[in-house]
Symmetry: none
Subunit: 233 residues, 2 copies
DNA sequence: AATCCTCTTAACCAGCACTTAACCAGATTC
DNA sequence: GAATCTGGTTAAGTGCTGGTTAAGAGGATT
């Protein structure tokens, strides 16, 4: 079975008995849940590289849901945010706060309803931003193409666009032989002697980064090309 | 996404197949569109209380775009007018006809480009009608877009409109890489060499303001764009 | 018409990313 | 094992990108 990494849900709900119910149900449904009893702690716990979706109660002590959303939006304008609101709340107030990646659900709701909304919502925003957030996790190596950042353990490398383009191509075609020509055409757009040498320079650079992770290596297939060996998932 | 009353677009375009394409796209983007096949009917349909923006093809039978604009200007000197011109047209001819609330876009243009141009163009007029204040608080930095004021510690800077537009866009998309092109399209509405240089001048200005707050910085991603780094939550 | 203000264009320069060169080590072929 | 070829590696070169300041252009205001 394909072991898809679980989606992390940041749940901010001050009514703790309700919070635990929601959490348990979400865990059962296969999500990782971080439950926060108030707004501020939700802000503290938020990490854009980790959290897949936020569920924020609108009415909370110590920063309400909107204030939390505003803070979170400063870190990421993509993460979907679902507000949990009381029925009494007027629609326009909510709408006023929403950005494109937000939606809301009115309490009380059934768990089934929440799960459906989350799924639809995740699918939609994922599709909308599919070209925006591109990340690969291989071994202990985390590569965000979008941010041009390669993280291996503690070390963070800022990549250039070309380095990132090349690495992305390798990640997308790992564990199989790639002809030199194939790489050149896909990453540089053409294939000549000098660009080939230029590629070799880039390969050297990437290999330096990989030194930090013994699990991955970029093997040379003499006279043919390369193979980017990465651990099976 | 937003259910603010839709903005009415008066579109005058004699090439009907093109007209319908534009209309469909604008409707998809949430506008109300009145499509007129010639200049005279555009004048007839114009109603200053209704129309939010005019898109006028310059070359049309039965009153060209300029003549239409002249008539419209008699009724309202506020309504933004965007001329659709052929590439062959000399710039000075267009400039001569433009008033302050006019601009032009050269055919062929991408729909994305048109939409951006319209939005940038509408922003100003819309801002005047909306009483909603837009403010950002980042680090020790307080930015009121509505008031064009940037406060850092004790210091208060009065921003120009463009500075504020740019800063707003940066605030709305902080902590992620923004391509130069992306910024230009969103803030200036088009992307060419000179506007790119103009943007660099503005970037320099903003950086001067940011000097006062070490927590925020506007990083250059060479060959790609910028990233507005703001403190973690 | 004179001044101010804002934005664009120009000019100069520094630093950077990518390419090219140069040298060398394995691999491959004979 | 010499000759050739392929590619690893480092350094030098080159053009491009962008930082910065100042000059220019056009509106608006007086």
């Amino acid at each position: 079975m394909q072991q898809v990494p679980k989606i992390k849900v940041l749940l901010a709900e001050d009514d703790l008995s309700l919070g635990y119910v929601i959490k348990d149900n979400l865990v059962d449904a296969g999500y990782d849940v971080i439950l926060c009893p108030d707004g501020q702690s939700a802000i503290d716990k938020f990490d854009k590289n980790e959290v897949g979706i936020c569920l924020l109660d609108v009415m909370m002590p110590n920063k309400d849901g909107f204030a939390v959303a505003k803070k979170i939006r400063q870190q990421s304008d993509m993460v979907p945010i679902l507000f949990l609101t009381a029925r009494s709340m007027e629609e326009d107030k909510i709408k006023g706060f929403q950005s494109g990646a937000d939606d809301y659900i009115t309490k009380p709701f059934s768990m089934q309803e929440l799960l459906m909304r989350m799924e639809v919502f995740l699918r939609r925003t994922r599709k909308m931003h599919s070209d925006k957030t591109v990340t690969f996790t291989i071994g202990q190596l985390n590569f965000s193409y979008t941010d041009l950042k390669l993280t291996i353990g503690q070390e963070v490398f800022n990549l250039t666009q070309k380095e990132a383009d090349l690495l992305k191509f390798l990640c997308e075609h790992s564990n199989r032989i790639l002809k030199r020509e194939e790489v050149l055409l896909n990453v540089w757009g053409k294939d000549d002697y000098f660009l080939g040498r230029s590629m070799d320079v880039f390969i050297t650079k990437l290999r330096k980064y990989f030194k930090a992770d013994p699990q991955v290596n970029l093997e040379t297939i003499h006279g043919v090309g390369f193979r980017f060996n990465t651990p099976a998932l």
